[in-house]
Amino acid sequence: MKKLLVAALLAAPAVALAQQPIKIGLVLSSSGQFADAAAQLDNGIKTYMKMHGDTVAGRKIELIRRDTGGVAPDVAKRLSQELVVRDNVDILAGYVLTPNAMAGGDVSAEAKKFMVVMNAATSVVITKSPYMIRTSVTLPQVMETFGTWAATKGKLKQSYTMVTDYGPGHDSENAFTSAFKAAGGSIAGSVRFPVANPDFSAFVQRAKDVAPESIFIFIPGGAQPAALGKAMAERGIDKKKTKVLGSGETTAEAALKSMGDNALDIITAWHYDYTSKNKLNVAFVKEFNAMHGRNPDFFSIGGYDGMHAIYETLKKTKGKTDSDALIAAAKGLKWESPRGPMMIDPETRDVVQNVYIRRVQKVNGELTNVVFDTIPMVKDPAGERRKQGQK
């Protein structure tokens, strides 16, 4: 009897703890220009919770969503603060866009809140808070790898870069160019498109007139990749003579659909594609389609793996939400994701994952990004350089 009482007493705090939900504040750009990115990321989160339940370590997960309405670091900062101070969230998460993630990082550092960046891909974001991890991708991770690959295994000597004129575009241009040159390639020219650009034909014509051996493209997802792809098709860029290289957004599902056969033979480097045939991904895509009536994209996988990292971290801390315990548990976390193996770097807290080199081909009549080379477990090269600098 006595023993039972003691056990009950000991269990009491745990019960109280179990009744309290774990609150996660999601800061997303659910309206405005990046609404689709946020929607897909959120769909990834919803799918994960449907597949893995909404209870971790005996505690229920409660999501509180906030909308920044696009690129708005001031709004992101205010919303993050409100989530911490007023809603008492245990974890900050989401963050589609780099400026918003930077602002959220300040709040995370000051309030000592565990933060999971599920998309924003500029390398430096991760340095903003020692309590931050990232589950998406970094641009140098993919683009430097791609630059090196293009000049070595890709056997290309010359390239012409076309990127969107904003932070991630500049980062990609620099990353690709420096790696490509370091591996012996040369750059024939470069052009930057304005962020809001409805018509690409003139830019493409210019590239065509230079007649480079290859063209490298970075362009944010949305309606633009399709518009650019159509301009390339219309200008008649012959992919036998001019290889077209790009990031995964260039040949995302919607872009492929509107480009049609003109997309054939475009080579891209990316970390995720919904057509990947591994078992985890097949199950994920099936559930995702059942819930949302479309296919997941790289935003979705960032949200999905972000939730996975949160779940695994909470399992390790047994439901405790003390930030120091959470970040300690998250460092070095390894798991199999639908995208392949991945890890949170214990030193930089950044994502480590495979980079896949794909070519657009017809598979059963459908245009598909077919993986033909894999560079395993790539760390963020910019993060590695920062580490070198600190030593």
Partner: protein, 288 residues
């Protein structure tokens, strides 16, 4: 050099025709009816989404979907005019702006709800895709089609307004509303038709723009609206000829700027706008 100039002029012209279709309705409603409709691109988006639905879900041929896109834009214009906008003809510019921006926001949410925020596409038939070589330059087939369609519609529009009874009524109602009413012209109905025509043209423009600009739920308040407003301002309010010339000038400037001076980005178009408006503050063909 010569061949690249020809290419740029042609591309710019075709792009200008697209801008013209998208903006002429706004120019008319703004100039003739003094109504500031910032939800104008909503009509374009409706036309675009209508085409997407018909082509992708009901397997209509692309060309057959174009008149439907015109109708969709026109019907929405009529509904909005009857239910909302006609009450605001005498309201201040600010009130009109606020209401129409609100409508644009609501339409964005509605498109996102029904079609998701995913970018949409509707592929034109194979014979409109690709390019052909002429004088050592490749020309996009779709752009030739765009230019031809734009010219045809401009011709019809000018004919309708200058040579038909309906056109005479519109011009009378705009020049002197009281006198027109006194002569027994139903000004209300004339305005409604004008509004419908403007909405329809934008709808058609939206459908034709899918292949060039793309289609997303945020179209009503995207950069397209900025370009449309520039065309209207530079052309002069209420002038069809003005919109036509302004659209072509801006289309060519934009394309030439991107081709010859890409480091200026799309900024050139704004410089040209500023220069033209300093030269003629009322726009190229503006009367008031």
């Amino acid at each position: 050099m010569f061949s690249s100039a020809v290419g740029v002029l042609f591309d710019g012209f075709a792009y200008g025709m697209l801008l013209f279709l998208l903006s002429v309705g706004l120019s008319v409603t703004l100039g003739m009816m003094n109504f500031v409709n910032l939800a104008h691109c909503t009509f374009a988006a409706v036309g675009g989404y209508c085409t997407v639905s018909l082509v992708n879900r009901l397997d209509w041929p692309f060309l057959a979907a174009l008149p439907a896109a015109f109708l969709a834009g026109a019907v929405l214009a009529v509904l909005l005019e009857r239910m909302l906008f006609r009450r605001l003809y005498r309201a201040s510019d600010l009130d009109q702006c606020l209401v129409t921006i609100g409508v644009a926001f609501m339409s964005i949410a509605a498109f996102a709800w029904f079609y998701s925020t995913e970018p949409q596409s509707a592929r034109p038939p194979a014979y409109l895709i690709g390019s052909f070589e002429l004088l050592g330059r490749s020309f996009g087939v779709y752009r030739v089609f765009l230019a031809a369609a734009g010219l045809l519609i401009t011709g019809l529009l000018v004919y309708a307004l200058e040579r038909t009874r309906f056109g005479a009524r519109v011009r009378a109602a705009v020049d002197n509303q009281r006198m027109a009413r006194g002569l027994g012209i139903d000004v209300d109905r004339t305005f409604l038709f004008t509004f419908a025509l403007g909405g329809g043209l934008a709808g058609l423009g939206g459908a034709l723009a899918i292949e060039v600009i793309g289609l997303e739920s945020t179209l009503p308040l995207s950069v397209v609206l900025v370009y449309v407003l520039i065309v209207v301002a530079v052309g002069g309010l209420g002038s069809i000829r003005g919109s036509f010339v302004a659209a072509i000038v801006l289309g060519i400037t934009d394309t030439a700027g991107k081709y010859y001076f890409p480091w200026l980005g799309a900024f050139l178009i704004y410089l040209v706008m500023v220069a033209l408006l300093m030269w003629r503050p009322l726009g190229l063909f503006g009367k008031r």
